[in-house]
């Protein structure tokens, strides 16, 4: 057996018997058992003294948790459009053939399970997959051969060749965040020589805005949280980077974690917070050892823990919370729910986290890159920061470039850079369209390449997916509708049902059964999602369809039957079960569609 024995009592004790740590507890149980068995759910309910239904709700919400067994090796292929264009489907089919398994089904010997998952943050080195939660980047047929051999030999993961797991940074253009050395503590020392108010004033003058895409002023968020009354204040770093095509936080956390933790500590000083959390997406589990090492080094250097930099009143520590495969947890209130051990469903707002966040206490939630910027501002001051970029968008921005270009990777630019410049630098010679900021962002065509990356023009969390002339933008949009349907939390009607309706309609078009009626229907569904959804996921879920429809109408029109309406119902498909039962597949067991 490759698995360890699981002692739920020990796991619960390790997490202080606190049900708020349920997601972490479930990770440990699944790591040990391979899945979360029903009996384990009963035991956890007793040990944590919460209703069983609460454990089950959380265990069944997150994609990476499963109650049924996925064998000794669970392989999940990243299913972003970029992975697909790089040959993901072919590699997955090849691995299944090599292992004699069907996709999404446990192998008969109970050894292996092969499935899919949403983008895992490796679009610059895809196709990629996860094996038992660990990233396998840059897959090729020869690597699949090696992986299949290792699995069939039942080789423990720890003994697999390290090169299979080597994730490159791929930084092709560095600026003040990535390119210049940072001495841990430099920002804190500079800050401690003045007051928390002075730090807030610096942030305000620097005009730092949130790097998650929304662009809310960081100084305002921190000031309002600092002012809010509560038993405790919390600092949360949103490292749930789940937007397909984004991977810039991966580089910050992998190679510049000190900058991020320093920014969180600066924030803690401003708020008077004692506890911080790094909400790390489950896909980045491979980084846990290196991140913990950085935290330990900071504690040893007096930059974290009790009495930071010999200031007796400055206590602050950071705990890493591992997500479990849920894009929606990038939404700040869903992230907080997840931190509290619950399914990641966005809260009703107001109140906002600045007054009522983690455990209903004042909480600042900021993006990884925002904290890194805050550390630099503490170190070097506002004037230096606001000297970069544009008036409304100061500083630099990390862009995650992927798709049809010679040099995919991370590029740091001052805000205001044109799309054309980025395309030139990354070697995209035949770009036709760019998806800015992922599926929830903006799709721009070649006619708009002079637009600028900035809050006032094209705001972005960082994704920059390049599509060349030969790519089918309909298929790009269809992939995104599948993504949103998979990632909708299911709380509100318009998003839960609307994302599935959109996905089904796009599949109908792909099957050659579309009509102008379906195009109008998709616009109507978009309107309802935009006006009635509970959170940003629902508001933006129809963007890819509507934007590609508008900018690449040919991609849709060539798929439409020249009819007013075509039913989705497939008469011949409905007979499939009957054919299976009777073992027939002859001409008379089919209904041939009449040509219209």
């Amino acid at each position: 057996m490759l698995r360890r024995e699981c002692d739920p009592a020990a796991v619960v004790a390790l997490w202080r018997g606190d049900a708020a740590n349920l997601v972490q507890i479930l990770h440990e149980v699944q790591d040990a058992c391979g899945n979360i068995p029903d009996a384990m759910i009963d035991q956890l309910a007793k040990l944590l003294n919460v209703p069983r239904v609460r454990i089950e709700a959380t265990a069944s919400f997150y994609h990476f948790f499963h109650t049924e067994s996925h064998g000794e090796y669970e392989i999940l292929f990243s299913d972003n459009i970029i992975d697909q264009l790089q040959g993901k489907a072919e590699l997955m089919r090849y691995l299944c053939e090599r292992l004699w398994v069907e996709p999404r089904k446990l192998s008969e010997d109970g050894l292996v399970w092969v499935g899919e998952t949403s983008d895992i943050g490796m679009a610059d080195q895809g196709p990629a997959a996860l094996v038992n939660g660990m990233v396998l980047p840059a897959l090729s047929k020869s690597r699949i051969d090696l992986i299949a051999d290792l699995i069939r030999a039942k080789c423990p993961l720890a003994e697999w060749p390290a090169m299979l797991f080597a994730v490159a940074d791929n930084v092709h253009r560095a600026g003040p965040l990535l390119g210049e050395a940072f001495a841990p503590g430099a920002g804190l020392r500079a800050m401690l020589s003045s007051s928390a108010e002075a730090m807030l004033a610096e942030l305000d003058v620097a005009n730092l805005r949130g790097r998650g895409g929304a662009g809310y002023k960081t100084a305002m968020k921190w000031a309002s949280c600092r002012k809010a009354q509560g038993e405790a204040h919390y600092v949360v770093c949103n490292a749930d980077e789940g937007e397909p095509g984004t991977f810039k936080d991966r580089v910050l956390l992998q190679s510049h974690a000190d900058l991020v933790f320093e920014g969180m500590t600066v924030c803690a000083r401003v708020l008077g917070a004692k506890q911080g959390f790094l909400y790390l997406r489950g896909e980045y589990k491979y980084m846990l050892p290196s991140l913990r090492a950085v935290l330990d080094a900071r504690r040893a250097a007096g930059l974290l823990g009790k009495g930071i930099l010999n200031d007796a009143e400055f206590d602050f520590d950071i705990q890493i919370h591992l997500g479990a495969g849920a894009y929606i947890c990038g939404e700040e209130s869903a992230l907080i729910e997840s931190l509290e051990g619950k399914p990641g469903k966005p809260r009703n707002r107001p109140p906002f986290p600045d007054t009522s966040g983690y455990r209903n206490q004042p909480t600042v939630v900021n993006n990884v890159e925002t904290f890194a910027c805050a550390a630099r501002i503490a170190e070097r001051g506002a004037a230096w920061f606001s000297g970069l970029g544009t008036a409304q968008s100061t500083g630099s921005k990390l862009i995650s470039v992927s798709g049809d270009c010679a040099r995919p990777g991370v590029y740091e630019y001052p805000f205001g850079v044109t799309v054309r410049q980025v395309l030139e630098d990354c070697g995209a010679t035949d770009a036709h369209a760019v998806q800015i900021s992922g599926p929830s962002g903006t799709c721009i065509s070649w006619q708009e390449f002079d637009r600028k990356i900035a809050f006032e023009d094209l705001p972005t969390a960082g994704a920059f997916m390049v599509f060349s002339r030969e790519r089918d933008m309909f298929e790009v949009a269809r992939n995104f509708t599948h993504f949103f349907a998979h990632e909708s939390c299911g709380f509100c009607t318009p998003c839960r049902v609307g994302t599935s309706l959109l996905k089904n309609t796009m599949d109908k078009l792909a099957a050659g059964k579309g009509s102008p009626y379906d195009m109008a229907e998709m616009k109507r569904i978009m309107h309802i999602q935009l006006s009635m959804s509970h959170c940003g996921l629902g508001h933006t879920a129809a963007n890819p369809v509507v934007q590609t429809m508008e900018k690449f109408p040919d991609a849709y029109e060539k798929r439409l039957k020249k009819l007013h309406f075509e039913p989705a119902f497939d008469l011949d498909g409905a007979l499939a079960t009957a054919r299976l039962i009777t073992g027939r597949d002859d001409e008379w067991a089919h209904i041939v569609e009449e040509k219209s």
Partner: protein, 242 residues
């Protein structure tokens, strides 16, 4: 007294009241399904979405404020509400003619109210479980609209936590607090608030399905705006002068 306007009508409110609560107190109906005056606001069905000074929001989760200008009965909002109701119909399996709840069902009544003539969207025909294991209560998941009223009632009123929501997205489903996952092995009683609060026929007491014949039921004779909650009979009596 503090007031706001709703479709041009002045509505008084008390501090802390939501728009839908203040509207109900003034006898103004805003279509809804997951809202119930006895329970904490939830805000998931989105039927009660109103225009609050140019911004759209759920009337059940947004608090009334002095001078607020709210629009609810507009053709555009009612068209969107109709679409949401149709979405609820196609994501489940709702066969009104054979349903014991027909005529007392709020989903059906809201559909009548909004003038729904067809489900419009393609049906999903999901495969959902029916749980008849409880001696007195039937759990028919085909009719569940995930309003979580039973979840809230069991937790907040009955103190039992019999229900929860499992899964995610379109696969979200009502789950039961028992090791087997079956209702019969849970602590639910037919007298629990959770049993009777269901707006549809998803949770329904056994052996009473047709004690009142179809045709003589609440919404067979009343628009839901007259009796928004089947349990609130007093209001109806007042209107009838009884």
């Amino acid at each position: 007294m503090t007031t706001f306007t709703l479709d041009g009508k002045t509505i008084p409110f008390e501090e802390g009241q939501t728009i839908i609560e203040a509207a109900a107190a003034a006898d103004v109906y805003i279509p809804h399904l997951c809202h119930h005056p006895e329970f904490k606001p939830h805000g998931s069905c989105k039927l009660c979405t109103v225009n609050i000074g140019g911004r759209l929001g759920a009337a059940c989760t947004n608090r009334a404020a002095e001078g607020m200008v709210v629009e609810s009965e507009t053709p555009a909002l009612n068209a969107d509400r109709l679409a949401l109701t149709q979405m609820l119909f196609v994501e489940g399996n709702h066969f009104c003619p054979s349903c014991e709840k027909s005529g007392n069902c709020q989903l059906q009544a809201v559909a009548y109210h909004l003038g729904m003539l067809s489900p419009h969207f393609p049906h999903f025909y999901p495969a959902r479980d029916l749980d008849a294991s409880h001696p007195d209560v039937l759990l028919e998941r085909n009719r569940c609209i995930l309003c979580e009223l039973c979840v809230r009632a069991s937790c907040d009123v009955d103190g039992k936590n019999v229900f929860g929501i499992g899964g995610r997205g379109i696969k979200a489903r009502l789950i039961v607090n028992s090791p087997s996952g079956r209702l019969g092995d849970s602590s639910l009683a037919v007298t629990d608030r959770a049993t009777e609060v269901c707006p549809t026929g998803a949770l329904i007491p056994k052996r009473r399905g047709f004690s009142v014949p179809i045709g003589q039921r609440l919404y067979d004779h009343h628009d839901i705006q007259e009796v928004p909650q089947a349990g609130l009979k007093t209001k109806m009596k007042e209107r009838q002068g009884g």
